[in-house]
């Protein structure tokens, strides 16, 4: 139910951090990470995941297959 950041590609630019509507993103050792428990894939907030839209490195913020896709609470 979440996006993740591929650490090896993250530049640490911090652009994604303030854009996340759920405050799911924070810095760890110079790169940024997403808390899967907080990430809602931006559903209900925006048309596209904000971290993906702002990230300068394509395919760095991606769906984390370790979790099922997020479903908005009814």
């Amino acid at each position: 139910m979440a996006y993740k950041i591929i650490a090896s590609q993250c530049t640490g630019c911090s652009a994604c951090e303030p854009e996340c509507p759920n405050v799911a993103i924070r810095e760890k050792n110079g790169v940024f990470i997403i808390d899967p428990k907080k990430c809602t894939e931006c559903l209900g907030h925006f048309d596209e995941p904000q971290c993906v839209a702002v990230c300068p490195v394509d395919l760095t913020c991606v769906i984390d297959n370790a979790f099922p896709r997020y479903v908005a609470p009814a």
Binding site: T11, C13, S14, A15, E17, E48, V52, A53, V54, P56
Partner: protein, 520 residues
């Protein structure tokens, strides 16, 4: 502020240098009147330039060609995020708008940054300008940017604040910029036509959405121009940077020049694209070349009639410390800053230094005026030559040829001397021995010059420069640059007249590619 733009309008079309010297002379009116070409109270207008504009530019090494010999600016990287993508930028590294690609600068928190600024300002009284620029876009990180300004303004109100932006969110922040008394904003504007822009910007992130192609470029140009208009209306000086990308926006930049001038921009600085595959940028990887020195100068000349062009921008490293170009960053690393317990801000020393510089500067202007006045009417000719100068600053010929990492280029004509730019070169002398491979690259970098002024030069490079047709000149060692250049030019013209030498045009020169590696 309406008044600013009007006064600039009166002076438009004159090189900034003339403008500033006129003001410098004007300031001298009360004390002495000899040699003053400026006509106080004459048709040039009561103030020549609004005093508040002069106050803003006179110590700003980015705006005043005079000042950049004496004063220093500093950039801190507190704002790493960006909201657009430029094809000349690889954001793993610095923002190419203000610094050279391929050099990583350290990220600082606003608290670290302000401490560093105060420490540097106390150690280096020349440091009068603090800029927030790349990597990233300061206005894509407004909280960090304005927090830094707030901390610095509290302790060191004499430091001028400036910031550089791609302009996308500028309209949202003009009020805050004004409130913080930021008096210089640089906007990088590479196009005013989305058709052109789509080849420079693959995407932007705006209002929670990613836009691509023409639509992205259209939004960007609208926001940039709106932001510029709002700055002008708020009385904040605005400088425009443009990156010249041959085949993409080189011809179009003349239009950009008109568009920004009509919206009240104070200066327009055209920089060459610096592009190489190892930078990992889109342009670097697809083989997009940068302009040659002659192409760049031709474009700058084409725009000059339109507005003050700035030619001394060196795309310096974003966190460079010290006199422009002279990289002292290593003295002030984050580690060393963190070790400093408390920084005592030395306002007194700074003031004393700045007064000293002011008198040096007036002396230099006077020396140049005197040399110019001696140039009698019959010396007027069409001859133009370029002179490369090795200098460490203070407006003097005071650098050894072998130690020079860059040359200042002056264009000489019967109208006088005009500063036209910098050329970066590899150190010719690495530890005392001239390295053979470097000399040809130095020659290539200044190949369009007739002479090179140095404080000192070895026998070997002297002969090779001569062989390349460049006159190595060390007899003006430690003299003022412009006075010396005028003397040299007069002699040159006289020799051409007496058929002792034949005046010939010189070839084109290279713009140094790649990241500059500090010699230290």
């Amino acid at each position: 502020m309406q008044a600013n733009t009007e006064h600039i309008g009166i002076e438009k079309g004159k090189p900034l240098e003339q403008l500033l010297e006129k003001i410098a002379d004007h300031k001298g009116c009360g004390t002495s009147s000899d040699g003053g070409k400026a006509s106080c109270g004459s048709s040039d207008g009561p103030a020549d330039m609004a005093p508040e504009v002069w106050e803003k530019v006179k110590n700003h090494p980015c705006y005043s060609e005079e000042a950049h010999h004496h004063y220093a600016r500093m950039h801190v990287a507190v704002a790493p995020a960006c909201n657009i993508q430029c094809n000349y930028c690889n954001r793993k590294y610095d923002c190419a708008n203000e610094s050279r690609p391929g050099v990583v600068s350290e990220k600082l928190t606003p608290e670290q940054a302000s401490k560093k600024v105060l420490a540097v300002a106390s150690a280096i009284p020349q440091m009068t300008v603090l800029g927030i620029a790349g990597p990233g876009d300061p206005l894509a990180n407004p909280a960090k940017t304005f927090k830094t300004f707030e901390l610095i303004a509290k302790t060191a109100p004499d430091i001028k604040l400036c910031l550089s932006t791609n302009g996308l969110t500028l309209p949202d922040h003009v009020d805050t910029i004004k409130a913080f008394n930021v008096d210089h904003v640089t906007i990088t504007i590479n196009m005013v036509d989305p058709e052109v822009g789509q080849h420079i910007y693959p995407w932007i992130y705006y209002k929670n959405k990613r836009y691509t192609g023409i639509e992205a470029a259209r939004i960007l140009t609208e926001r940039q121009l709106l932001g510029l208009e709002m700055l002008t209306a708020a009385g904040v000086l605005a400088k425009i940077n443009s990156v010249m990308i041959p085949g993409i926006n080189d011809k179009h930049l003349v239009e950009v020049n008109k568009a920004v001038k009509s919206r009240g921009a104070f200066l327009h600085n055209i920089m060459p694209l610096i592009s190489a595959p190892e930078h990992g940028t889109v342009f670097g990887l697809n083989g997009q070349r940068g302009p040659s020195a002659q192409e760049l100068k031709a474009l700058q000349d084409a725009c000059e009639g339109e507005m003050n062009m700035m030619r001394h921008c060196r795309q310096c490293r974003a966190d460079a410390v010290g006199l422009l170009g002279e990289d002292r960053s290593a003295e002030f690393t984050t580690e060393k800053i963190d070790e400093m317990s408390e920084v005592v801000y030395d306002a007194e020393t700074r003031k004393a230094y700045q007064q000293l510089v002011e008198s040096e500067r007036l002396e230099k202007v006077a020396a140049k005026e005197a040399a110019l006045a001696e140039m009698s009417d019959d010396e007027v000719s069409d001859i133009k030559i370029l002179i490369a100068v090795a200098t460490k600053g203070q407006g003097r010929v005071n650098e050894h040829f072998g130690h020079a990492t860059e040359f200042q280029i002056y264009e000489m004509s019967s109208a006088g001397s005009k500063f036209v730019g910098h050329r970066r070169v590899d150190l010719y002398c690495q530890g005392g021995f001239g390295e053979e491979e470097t000399l040809p690259s130095v020659v290539r970098a200044i190949n369009d010059c007739h002479a090179v002024f140095v404080a000192k030069i070895g026998g070997c490079p002297r002969d090779e420069l001569k062989a390349a047709g460049i006159d190595p000149v060390d007899r003006f060692a430690h003299e003022f640059i412009e006075e010396s250049a005028i003397t040299y030019f007069k002699e040159y013209v006289a020799k051409v007249r007496s058929h002792e030498i034949v005046h010939e045009m010189r070839g084109d020169a290279d713009i140094r590619q790649g990241a500059y590696i500090s010699a230290a």
